[in-house]
Symmetry: C2
Subunit: 196 residues, 2 copies
C-alpha cells in the first residue's frame, strides 16, 4: 500500500476476526520491523509471537483484559489470532555503549539523558502497526502494566522489559476508545517554527 | 512510495545537499507524524522546526556536531536545510491520566511501569523518518545529550524534553556509521515463538 495511505488508514483496532494470519505475513511484518533505528545500532528490541489460544488467553489475563471487557470492549488481546509481545533490554544498550567506540573520553559510558531503549521500542512498534495495515490486517497496541507477570508467563528474561502487546488480525467493527473524543492535536498546537 | 519499499529504503543519512525542502513537504511530514499512537491519546510530542542557518549552526553546536566532524562525518545536523527538534512532555501524560476516565480505582494515577512518552516520541519520529523518504528526501536522527542547552537555545519549556534532532534534506554520499559493522540482528535472534 502507498506509504501515506498506510499511515492515514492505521488506527488502533480493538476487535478481531478469528481468521488466522499466515506465517508469511507475521514473518514479513517482523522482518520490516528490523528496519527500526536504534541508538548505536544496539537493536535491543525482541519479541515473543504467540498464536496458541490458551497462551493468548493467559496474556489477556495478565493484561487485565477483563477490565476492557467490563467497559464494553471486545476481548481484543486474546481474541486476535496473533499477539506480538514487544520487549526491550536496557542492558543491551549499556553493553553496546561500553564498547570502545562508544565510550566517552575518560572511558565512561554516556549518561543517557533519555532512555532510548523505550524510544526505539516505540519506533519498532510503529513499523509493526503500519506493516499490519499495509498487508491487509489491523493491529491494536496495549501497554503492559504487570511487567513481572508477563515475564513469568512467557519466560522473558529479567533483562527484557515487556512494553506492550500488539494484537494482529482482520478487523471487525469495534468500540472506539473514549480517548478519541479528545481529537487529534492540530499542527498549530504542536509545531513551533524557528523557536518555541 | 510503496510502504515496504519506504521502510527498506530508509537509513540514517548524515550528509545533505543545500537544496531547500519546500514548506509543503515539511508540513506534510508533520501532518503524517500526527498519526502516531499515544497512551490515552495524550499526544505529548511537540516539535521545533528550524530552517534559519544561524540557528541550525547553534543546534549543531549544542549537539556537539564538532565531535562528529572530527571523526570524519559531515556536519549533517547544521548543514541540512531543515532540522526538526523532537520534544515530549511527561507532564502532559500525567495530566491526561489524572482525568476521571483514566484514574485507577481509588482515584490514583496509574504507576507508569514504562515511560510511554519516550515510546510515543519514538513512534512519531519513525513516521517522520519514513515520511521524508516517501517524499523523496532523506533524514538523520541524532539524540540530544545537552537537554537544558537545547531548551535554552530554542526556548523549549522545562516541561518538554528534547529527545533528538531530525535533519531532513536531499541525501549526498555520506560516511557510514561504524555501528553498521555490527550488522542487523536476524529474526532468529530477536523473535521467540509462543515462549521465550
Amino acid at each position: 500500500m502507498e506509504f501515506q495511505k498506510t499511515v492515514l488508514k492505521r488506527r488502533m483496532v480493538r476487535h478481531f476476526a478469528k481468521d488466522t494470519v499466515p506465517d508469511r505475513v507475521v514473518n514479513r511484518i517482523l522482518e520490516l520491523a528490523q528496519h527500526y533505528p536504534s541508538a548505536g545500532f544496539s537493536q535491543g528490541v525482541a519479541y515473543v509471537v504467540v498464536k496458541d489460544p490458551e497462551v493468548r488467553k493467559k496474556i489477556g489475563h495478565v493484561q487485565e483484559e477483563e477490565g476492557y471487557v467490563s467497559m464494553g470492549f471486545h476481548p481484543f488481546i486474546s481474541e486476535a489470532p496473533v499477539v506480538i509481545v514487544v520487549t526491550v533490554s536496557e542492558q543491551h544498550y549499556h553493553r553496546r555503549y561500553q564498547e570502545s567506540d562508544k565510550l566517552q573520553q575518560g572511558g565512561t559510558e554516556i549518561p543517557w539523558p533519555t532512555p532510548y531503549w523505550f524510544f526505539d521500542a516505540g519506533a519498532a512498534s510503529m513499523i509493526i502497526l503500519l506493516a499490519a495495515v499495509d498487508m491487509g490486517y489491523a493491529a491494536g497496541f496495549a501497554g503492559v502494566s504487570n511487567i513481572q507477570g508477563m515475564r513469568d508467563l512467557l519466560g522473558i528474561p529479567a533483562e527484557f522489559h515487556p512494553v506492550g502487546t500488539i494484537s494482529i488480525g482482520k478487523p471487525l467493527p469495534d468500540k472506539k476508545s473514549g480517548s478519541l473524543k479528545r481529537g487529534r492535536r492540530s499542527q498549530r498546537e504542536v509545531v513551533h517554527t524557528e523557536h518555541w
